[in-house]
């Protein structure tokens, strides 16, 4: 007998993208459970052509479709006509105020929220990365929402090969790190202003690495460059652009602290990566961030740059606090293990009446 199919759809996929990584992990988990599973997309980034199928190739008869949603797109009508049981997987949408008014991203942000309200009729059951995202769905009238951050594989992160960052030197500097594309909602300009104070407060040199993709013509990137120049921090702040996974994990392993001052994160996968690679976290209280960090880090409620820098300097010399945070990280990561995610996915599918040929042990026992 042919096993049931649970496929996935997102309008675009790209190497290194958090939603794409989550879809690849989900496909792996579904196949391990004996289900047939493929990923379908409209725009397929370089390197994924053989792995992800064009959406026109979807033959959904008798299948279930996990519809990932992180922004608006032009395929709503097609999606509405797909003859399959559809389930929403919500990653949140970066609000339009963080984009250039009138730009494509701006329009797709607004459209994404409009579509979210309409999706409720077609997809009554949903998965959400965080309780923050789930509460947004419930407010829109979604009745059946399960929190399940199917975004990362902790074992794979810990095992991944890593390369030391290039040309960093060994001057005993204090290394602060943030990972994420250069974007207004991620507020890298706030991190640069913290670095201004940190340089004056630390007894050793200070480096701030901003690891993430940027485009030279992007207005926020140009603005960030201006801020770095204005604060005379070009020697201390490094914008790496897009890096390989090996380099990325090298940056985490070199970091003394991971600082996140984002004003919007749908989940914040780099926070989990930092925890998995044992980097202390200081983060600003916004969107899903406090929930993602849990007991694994310190949360600041105000963007007082001088005070945040002073807290980083205190943390750097406070072994007892770093040890307490390490224990907190371990506790948080236990709840995000691959087995727990797999069990959560199997339980969700069974609740929706989809037979899972090889459910994980935790679900079989329940």
């Amino acid at each position: 007998m042919t096993p049931p199919s649970v496929h996935q759809f997102h309008p675009n996929v790209a190497v290194g993208d958090a939603v794409t990584n989550g879809m690849l992990l989900t496909r792996e988990l579904l196949r391990e459970m004996g289900l047939r599973s493929e990923i379908y997309a409209f725009i397929i980034g370089p390197g994924l052509e053989g792995d992800v199928r064009p959406y026109q190739a979807l033959r959904p008869e008798g299948a279930a479709l996990l519809v990932h949603h992180s922004h608006g797109h032009e395929l709503e009508a097609w999606l509405a006509g797909v003859p399959a049981r559809r389930f929403l997987v919500y990653h949140n949408i970066t609000p339009a105020r963080f984009f250039v008014p009138g730009s494509t991203h701006y329009r797709y942000s607004l459209l994404g929220r409009e579509m979210l309200a309409r999706h409720r009729e077609r997809m009554p059951a949903a998965l959400a990365d965080s309780e923050h995202n789930a509460s947004e769905l419930r407010a829109l009238g979604y009745g059946d929402v399960r929190v399940l951050p199917l975004l990362f594989d902790l074992d794979a992160i810990r095992r991944a090969p890593h390369a030391p960052p290039q040309a960093l030197g060994d001057d005993g500097a204090f290394h602060a790190l943030f990972v994420g594309r250069i974007a207004a909602n991620k507020c890298q300009h706030d991190l640069v202003q913290v670095a201004w104070y940190l340089r004056q407060l630390m007894p050793r040199p200070v480096r701030l690495a901003l690891v993430g993709e940027y485009r030279g013509h992007d207005p926020y990137y140009r603005y960030l460059r201006d801020v770095i120049d204005r604060l005379d921090l070009s020697a201390e702040v490094r914008l790496t652009g897009h890096v390989s996974n090996e380099e990325l994990y090298g940056w985490y392993r070199r970091a003394d602290v991971f600082v996140c001052l984002s004003e919007h994160e749908g989940f914040g996968v780099p926070l989990v990566e930092a925890m998995a690679l044992d980097v202390p976290i200081v983060a600003y209280q916004s969107s899903s961030v406090p929930e993602t960090v849990g007991p694994g880090g310190l949360i600041v409620a105000r963007k007082d740059h001088a005070r945040i820098a002073a807290l980083l300097a205190v943390l750097a010399r406070d072994g007892a606090t770093r040890e307490a945070l390490r224990r907190g990280r371990q506790a948080r990561l236990e709840s995000l293990s691959r087995e727990r995610l797999k069990a959560g996915l199997a339980a969700f599918l069974q609740e929706q009446g989809i037979a899972v040929p090889r459910p994980p042990a935790a679900v079989r026992a329940a």
Partner: protein
């Protein structure tokens, strides 16, 4: 200002130490930085201006120079001749378009001041 769900972290002590460090080191305040919204708004206004300039090219009623560049002399002459009846027929609409463009440009002139006054040069 500071919270954590990690057991065993003395948040009050950390804050007291941080404040003592700030008092002792008395760091120079950072130079004022405009908020990023001003940069995004300025980019949006710039894009609109470019669109308006393009629209104005067409609203003059002449074939845009871009359409003529690089074409053989005969094709250019033919294009100009073909364009004449269109000019005559489209005259009322052009009149309206140009008035609308003038109004839009006047409105747009007011944007940079509005965008930058929000930040007022002060850090957030």
């Amino acid at each position: 200002m500071l919270t954590t769900a990690a057991p065993g972290v003395d948040v009050e002590r950390m804050l007291a130490e941080a404040d003592a460090l700030l008092r002792g080191a008395a760091p120079r305040p950072a130079p004022p930085v405009l908020p990023p919204e001003s940069a995004l708004m300025a980019a949006g206004v710039r894009e609109l201006r470019e669109l308006l300039a393009e629209a104005r090219d067409w609203s003059t009623g002449r074939p845009p120079e871009k359409a003529l560049v690089g074409r053989p002399r005969l094709s250019r002459a033919l294009l100009r001749v073909l364009f004449w009846p269109m000019r005559v027929l489209a005259w009322p609409q052009r009149k309206f378009n140009r008035a609308a463009l003038d109004a839009l440009e006047t409105m747009l002139e007011m944007f940079p001041a509005a965008a930058y006054s929000k930040g007022n040069g002060a850090p957030r």
